[in-house]
Structure formats: C-alpha cells, structure tokens
C-alpha cells in the first residue's frame, strides 16, 4: 500500500498556493466493489489528481501456467474476470484448439455461443445494476440479480459449478446440454426480457439517473483508442470494434446481430451500450438455440479430450489415455499463437508460446480491464468524488482480471 504523503502531492500543494486535501480511497472501500486503492488529491469536492495502486489479489497466473498442462490452465482463466468465467474458459479452449489445429463442428460452436452469451448477459447485468446502486437506485439491482441467479443455475446444469465454472473441454463440451438445461435457458429467454423492460423503465429515462450519469467520466474516442480500450468502454465512445465481428470465432458470422455504439463515451453511454448488448445476446441465444444443429458435442482431440468414463473402467487403452492426459504428459506442437475472444469487458487475448512441451513456455493474458483501468485518473480529473465512484462501476473493473 502506498503511503498518502508521497512526493507529488507536496508538489501539487505548492502549486498555485491552494490548499489541497488528500483522500485515501481504498484499498477496501465499500463503494469500489473490489480491492483498489486510489489516492485522490482534492480541491474541495473536485478531484485534482488520482494515483492508483493495484495488485492486491495478484496470484501469479502466468507463472503458474508455465508449469501446468494445458487443460489445467482452464481453472486459472476462471479467476480472471470471475463475473463471466465461461467466456474465459471457452476463450482458452479456442486458443488451445488453434494451437493444436482442431476444427470444431457447428453444434459445438452454437453451444459455445449460447454459453458465452449467457455469461455476457450475467456480466452486463451485474455492471449495469451496480451503476444503478451507486447512483442511488437499489431497486433495479434486486430485480436483475434474480435473473443472474437463473443464469448461474443454467451453469450448474451444464457443469455443476456456479462462479468458477471450468466449463467445457478442449474440443467441445464434457457433456451435451441436458433437457433441464435447455428448459432453463428457454425459461430465461421468456423471463429476462420482462425484467429487463422493467429495469430499463426504472433507469433509462429516469431524470435523476440521467443527470447523474450523462457527461460523467467521459473519454474521447481518440484517447480511448490511444489507451487501447476495448469492449463496451470503447464502443461507448463510438468505435464499433468487436472481436466477434472483426475476427469471427465459433461461427458468430452465421448470426445477425448489432454492435451498439455510443457517442460521448460517458457513464450513460456505457450503460446503454451494455443494455443493448444484453438484448443482442438474448437474440443470439434464441437464434442459436432454435438452429442448434445435430451432431456430437465434442470432436476427437485424442490427446486432450478425456475418454468415456465407462471405457476407462473397462478397457485398457482408454485407461492409459486417461492417465496420460490427467498427468499432463502430452506434448503440443511448437508454435506461437495469439487468440482473442470478445470478453464481457473487451478483447480477452491469449498469447501462447509453446516450445513443444507439456505446458506453455510463455502464456500472456491480455486482460481488457487491466489495460483500460489506467485511463481512470484521466477520466475522473475535475469531477466530484461521487462521480468517480460511478465512473469506476461503469468501467466494470474486476479485481481478478486486473491483477491476474
């Protein structure tokens, strides 16, 4: 933790003979939803300067990954942006599949789209409802969290876990969607739009909410690009960059969906972009579920996809294969790849340098939150403290993603 009387504050205090006060926001402040420290230099109610400290939950994922077999790294990706773990999981599986040169069939692609869009909805619901909470409207939060709970129940049907899902496998899924899972997805597709309409009625054209968010924490498209923004934060400034369209993966190009953009890059625009993305995700899930092709839920990736449990118990070769896979004694080709997916917060990239061994020589996660959070001081300078809190929630900074 940084001490609050560091050098530059003294410099600032000397400048133009004004008396500035220093405010230590965090590391554990109830309004920041995570462990971030911000040392703010305040002129009355106005923020003059902010200095961030991050890294409180750094867990050395990149170092750990250099020892682990590829399939065990999935559990590390769970803990990046833990509000939308399935996107991270599937992103990593896609990266390994690219490394191994595996092609998946349409059924797997569509199943993955359904799961990833559910995760995107869950993530956006958290972010947008928390913007409401931080601007004083608690009601909407309670409504949409019931829907988020339903999405977590769908995860439970799919993989048994709720938050850190470890969903799917390299080469597809561990099992097909169950009848219960499909029923729950269909129920969600009926219930969620009703709640979303109510939620939007509460906030979207609410005078108080608009006054609190329009023009707050805005950034121009030039600055956002210069800061390597991606995801809803970039799209709110008016740039329609989305990995799902620019470099389609998982057959996203089979579907018709809109990439919403904002104009001013402020908190209200980020809110609206996320809100519209939820509607687009609902559309995508509906289409993918209606057109779900027949086929297997996994492709044969002999060295990576665990054999059937019954075969493992009764036959020799599957048993050997199972043992080798679990012990991670599987070599991958010597290759270097970069694979990006559109995470809920932006471009989630995996840069893998494989030297032919059982684990990556180097694995780097491009975490969108880590990259755009550095623009935070620039976005909150000259605004009030309460606006700074709103700006942070609208950027959806997740500590797990920030600190890796």
């Amino acid at each position: 933790m940084k001490t609050i009387n560091s050098e530059h504050h003294l410099d600032l205090t000397k400048k133009d003979e004004k008396v500035y006060s220093t405010l230590n926001l965090g590391p554990t402040h109830p309004a920041t939803h995570g462990i971030f420290q911000n040392i703010l230099t305040m002129n009355g109610e106005t923020i003059v300067h902010a200095e961030q400290t991050i890294g409180y939950i750094h867990r050395a994922f990149e170092k750990i990954a250099e020892r682990r077999p590829y399939y065990q790294i999935t559990t590390l990706t769970d803990r990046l942006n833990y509000c939308s773990s399935p996107i991270n999981n599937i992103g990593w599986h896609l990266a390994v599949e690219k490394l191994l040169g595996v092609e998946t069939n349409k059924r797997i692609d569509y199943m993955r789209i359904i799961v990833m869009e559910l995760a995107r909805i869950a993530d956006h619901l958290i972010c947008n409802s928390v913007i409401g909470v931080d601007s004083g409207a608690l009601t909407g939060f309670v409504y949409v969290f019931e829907q988020r709970e339903k999405i977590y129940e769908i995860y439970e049907e799919l993989c048994g876990a709720r938050l850190t899902t470890n969903l799917g496998r390299v080469g597809g899924f561990e099992r097909d969607f169950s009848v219960g899972a499909i029923r729950k997805i269909k129920e969600l597709l009926v219930d969620l739009p009703k709640i979303l309409h109510q939620f939007e009625n509460l906030l979207m054209r609410n005078r108080i909410f608009m006054d609190r968010t329009i023009g707050v924490g805005s950034i121009s498209s030039e600055r956002a690009l210069n800061y390597s923004f991606t995801g809803p934060c970039l799209r709110a400034t008016g740039i329609d960059y989305d990995v799902r369209v620019q470099e389609p993966y998982c057959s996203y190009n089979d579907f018709d969906f809109v990439i919403p953009v904002g104009q001013h890059g402020d908190t209200y625009d980020r809110f609206c972009v996320r809100q519209t993305e939820i509607w687009e995700s609902i559309k995508l899930i509906t289409n993918a579920l209606d057109n779900l092709p027949e086929g297997k839920f996994n492709v044969e990736v002999p060295a990576f996809y665990l054999p059937n449990k019954e075969d493992v118990y009764s036959k020799m070769e599957p048993l050997i294969g199972h043992f080798k896979m679990v012990m991670g004694e599987i070599d991958v080709p010597k290759k270097e790849i970069y694979k990006a997916v559109e995470g809920a917060n932006g471009e989630l990239g995996f840069y893998v340098v494989a030297d032919g061994g059982r684990s990556p020589y180097r694995l780097h996660f491009r975490r969108p939150g880590f990259i755009y959070y550095q623009a935070y001081p620039e976005m909150i300078t000259d605004s009030s403290l309460s606006d700074a809190i709103l700006t942070m929630s609208s950027m959806n900074v997740i500590a797990g993603e920030l600190d890796a």
């Binding site: 890294g55 990149e62 170092k63 800061y227 390597s228 740039i239 270097e336 180097r362 491009r366």
Partner: protein
C-alpha cells in the same frame, strides 16, 4: 496491404534493423533491433495505420545471447490486420525505449513487463512495480525462478498437510 509490401516499406525506412521471423506462426511477425523499436512503432502507427496497441509482454530465453524479449501486438483497425513485433535485449543492459509517448495504453503494460522481467523502459513516466510489492528484489517471471515442485516433501506444514 500485403505482408511483403509492409516489410518492404519498413525495410526501406529502417534497413537492416528489421528482420523477418522465419517461423511465422499465425500473425505476421517481425524482429526489430532494440535501438530502433520506438521509431518502428511510431512509423507503423503514423504511416501504416497500426493505430491500436493490442498487447505488450515480456519473454525470457535464458540460453540465448539476447536473453530478454518484448513482444508487441499491433492492430491495423482500418484493414483489420495484426502484426507482431519482437525485440530482444541482453540481460546485463536490459534497456529499451518506452513507447508511452506513442500509446498511452503502454504505460501499465510496460510497468508489468518491468515488474516481471526487469526490462527497463527508458523514458517511461513512472517505471515502478505494479502487481508485485514494491520491496521485492527480483523479477519473478525470469526462468531462473522455478515454481515450487508440487511433490516436495522437505517442508513441514501441519496445517496444509505437507
């Protein structure tokens, strides 16, 4: 624009300091001499539309003469084309020009690379550790620091069963 054309443009500008990587996986990859990295990236941004810095990270090859590397991923958003740029420095003098002036987003990425690999970015506004504690006196991602062997038995830890 074709990869060859891009390489030719860079070659006319920077001559021998640009090399093509032989094993060209996935993304068009160039190896650039450490001394000209900043001007190459500025050239790519200003003249070739690579206006977006996707990623910047370090890498360590202990067996090579130039042990430490930095890998830049740039994105040409106009033509939707990516390029990967690698540059290597010796471990004794791990100095590289900072590109924060060109891309503000490189600020934390360079701090992270310094934190984990000890690469010194000359001209960086605030080159301090970012994810690790300030008083740490080594750079943990270097290959000489292996992770603890999960099967070691010399530790006596009654709480965690080892």
């Amino acid at each position: 624009m074709e990869n060859n054309e891009l390489f030719q443009n860079l070659h006319t500008q920077f001559h021998e300091s640009i090399l093509l990587e032989e094993t060209n996986h996935d993304i068009f990859t160039l190896v650039v001499e450490a001394s000209s990295i900043k001007s190459v990236i500025a050239f790519l941004k200003d003249h070739e539309n690579f206006i977006f810095l996707t990623d910047l990270c370090g890498i360590h090859y202990p067996d090579s003469d130039l042990e430490l590397g930095v890998i830049y991923h740039l994105h040409n958003l106009v033509e939707n084309k990516r390029v990967r740029i690698k540059t290597f420095v010796p471990k004794a003098t791990p100095h590289l020009d900072s590109i924060v002036e060109i891309f503000s987003g490189a600020n934390w990425m360079e701090r992270e690379t310094f934190d984990f690999y000890g690469i010194i970015f000359v001209g960086h506004p605030k080159l301090e550790r970012i994810l690790n504690v300030e008083y740490m006196n080594y750079h943990p991602m270097l290959k000489e620091y292996p992770l603890e062997d999960a099967t070691r038995s010399d530790k006596d830890d009654a709480f965690f069963g080892r």
